[in-house]
């Protein structure tokens, strides 16, 4: 077999074409046979060359692609993927971070459901999510629709709405706590002076049953600008002709929303709900900064899952147990995401 290289491949190909021409005109069967053998040989060499060069081209292509991915992927792998695998493992172990690791099996999970603090944390986190997700969605969608009209000062409003999102929690919660201060704050002052609420009936915004409400209000306020921008982006993709068609059919504002806007926004809504749910389940800083007491504690009315994870891990050093709580958090988030995903598919199909 001749050695075929990138340099001489063309000359072989030319030979091949001339051989095929010759074979048609040749009458001598012996000579014909000779040509055929030669053709076969060249064809095989060429195809061997082709597959070989294809292979190396593929490898090269892969290497280039990997070189693009590597910087991020290595960091991602080391600092995210491996710890996640760890986290799954830890949930079935018993470890204090120093002494030898012990196998715990399902013990961590079994004791979870007898744990009053865990159940309170789970309950509060779910209530917080159920309150925050729809409320944020409605407010941000409403604002986006209003802003999508030609209104004066639209750009300014869009910027303002983003301020709460970019503001740091530490700074803005301290303002919030001043505004809602139970005895000195302007909100309660207003209730007292203007609405004549009795002093002893003034709401204690950061204790008891009101604390979750305060957290929900705060969170809607802080994040609505962000989701509003996402909805605004979604609205830009809505086909304007559909509105015209709907107007011709005599559809009112509500009908337009129901039959045109809402269905066209379904994928945006899906994204918003998933992001909101994930972020709500992760709530920690808001609870700590708005509701923590003098010993840094959250009570049964304000405790949330991530606080409990932190408490168990970094205060009591029950790493296995805290990982088990984290698994519950993960399963919840995953569950909600999957339900959403499935629901969206159903919606789009039907």
């Amino acid at each position: 077999m001749e050695k075929i290289t990138a340099a001489n491949v063309e000359s072989f190909q030319n030979e091949l074409t001339s051989l095929i021409e010759k074979i048609h005109t040749e009458s001598n069967p012996k000579q014909k046979m000779k040509y055929l053998k030669r053709i076969d040989k060249i064809q095989r060499s060429i195809s061997a060359y082709r597959s070989k060069s294809k292979l190396s081209r593929e490898t090269k292509r892969d290497l280039i692609a990997y070189s693009f991915i590597a910087p991020n992927f290595i960091g991602f792998c080391v600092f995210t993927l491996i710890p996640i695998v760890f986290a799954f493992a830890l949930a079935f172990l018993s470890w204090d971070g120093s002494n030898p690791i012990e196998w715990a099996g399902l013990k961590n999970f079994k004791s979870l459901f007898k744990d009053k603090f865990f159940i309170a944390a789970l309950k509060n986190t779910i209530i917080y999510c159920v309150g925050t997700v729809p409320l944020t969605m409605i407010v941000s969608l409403g604002l986006a629709i209003l802003l999508n009209h030609k209104v004066l000062g639209r750009g300014l409003f869009r910027t303002l709405a983003f301020f709460p999102y970019v503001a740091s929690l530490v700074a803005i919660t301290s303002v919030w706590k001043m505004l809602f201060h139970p005895s000195k704050g302007p909100i309660n002052n207003l209730l007292f002076n203007v609405f004549n609420v009795q002093q002893e009936n003034l709401p204690q915004w950061f204790t008891g049953s009101l604390v979750l409400l305060s957290m929900i209000m705060f969170s809607v306020w802080k994040y609505m600008g962000y989701y509003m921008v996402i909805y605004l982006a979604g609205l830009q993709g809505v086909n304007g002709e559909l509105y015209e068609a709907a107007a011709l059919d005599g559809a009112g504002t509500w009908a337009k929303f129901k039959y045109v806007t809402w269905p066209q926004l379904s994928s945006t809504t899906f994204f918003v709900i998933v992001m909101l749910t994930i972020n709500c389940f992760k709530v920690y800083d808001i609870a700590i900064m708005l509701a923590a007491g003098g010993n840094g504690e959250l009570t049964l009315n304000s405790t949330v899952l991530v606080y409990y994870i932190y408490q168990k891990a970094f205060i009591e050093w029950k790493l296995g147990y805290s990982s088990a709580v984290a698994m519950v958090l993960f399963v919840l988030v995953l569950g909600v995401t999957l339900i959403q995903f499935w629901g969206q598919k159903k919606y789009q199909e039907g």
Partner: protein, 279 residues
């Protein structure tokens, strides 16, 4: 006809009223913050009469905060961290996203699924094992830990990939036929096109890193490594009743993020729209 235009006017008025109320709700806490930052402690809660700007503004609050706590140091740490993290994030994410969006290679789908599956995973789920590992690597109480923590997020890759997919592949094909290497295509063609997406990612990363609390709380222990959020929290603990000072510190901590946001915001909605993070 007449009633219809009257209706429109009424509707417009309603829209403006709602927007005005919302705008007020969003901005009042910030105005309060600014106002309180130049008041004395006694003036902060004085409601009768309430004034936005006191007669003798206490500008000294803004100078005092630098001496009461090592505020300069905290700001320095945070600026350092935020800039490095944002640069790394932009660079590595857009790099990896290019491969996922425009190149064919082995195991592409598996690798991408690896990224995607972690987006729904709250950091808090794996923060404990991550901490244990980082400490083993000698990263405890090092600013580098926060960089490692924040710089390689799956979210960045996902977002940039969505954006690149919106850029026609024919552009890259044409460049390839011209003999451009993939690296050239990335730097000369993709990067100039991705301003909106990069701006969006910059805002997200900047805001997140600047305002992160739990991460630095776990990783940064010694006083000289703390970030502005930890410093502010500590300051609030120590000077709980110096409202003016606390508010001055808060205002100062907001300024950089707001500047970055204002610079980049004109690309922002476009960025969100084109990166498809809307879904």
């Amino acid at each position: 006809m007449k009633s219809k235009s009257a209706n429109t006017i009424a509707l417009k008025t309603l829209v403006y009223i709602i927007l005005l109320i919302m705008a007020a709700l969003m901005i009042i806490p910030f105005l309060w913050m600014l106002s309180a930052s130049i008041k004395t402690d006694a003036e902060v809660f004085r409601m009768n009469p309430f004034v936005w700007i006191p007669k003798n503004p206490r500008w000294s609050n803004y100078s005092e905060i630098w001496t009461k706590i090592p505020f300069g140091r905290f700001v320095g740490n945070t600026v350092f961290l935020t800039i490095i993290v944002t640069c790394l994030q932009l660079l590595t994410s857009s790099f990896a996203a290019y491969a996922f969006a425009k190149l064919e290679f082995k195991h592409k789908n598996i690798l991408f699924m690896g990224y995607l599956s972690t987006i729904a995973m709250p950091w808090q789920v794996y923060m404990v094992p991550q901490f244990i590992m980082m400490r083993k690597m000698g990263l405890n109480d090092k600013l580098l830990a926060i960089i490692c923590l924040q710089a390689f997020s799956a979210f960045g890759v996902f977002m940039m990939k969505q954006f690149y997919e919106g850029i026609p592949s024919s552009l890259c094909e044409a460049a390839r036929i011209d003999g451009m290497s993939e690296y050239k295509i990335y730097t000369n063609i993709m990067i100039p096109l991705s301003k909106p997406a990069l701006s969006t990612l910059t805002i997200f990363t900047f805001v997140n890193t600047w305002n992160d609390y739990l991460g630095p709380l776990i990783y940064l222990k010694s006083q000289e490594k703390k970030t502005i959020q930890l410093g502010l929290k500590m300051f609030i603990g120590q000077y709980s009743s110096d409202y003016g000072l606390i508010m001055a510190g808060s205002v100062l901590s907001l300024i950089p993020v707001i500047i970055v946001f204002l610079i980049l915001q004109k690309y922002f909605v476009e960025g969100v729209a084109s990166t498809g993070i809307k879904g």
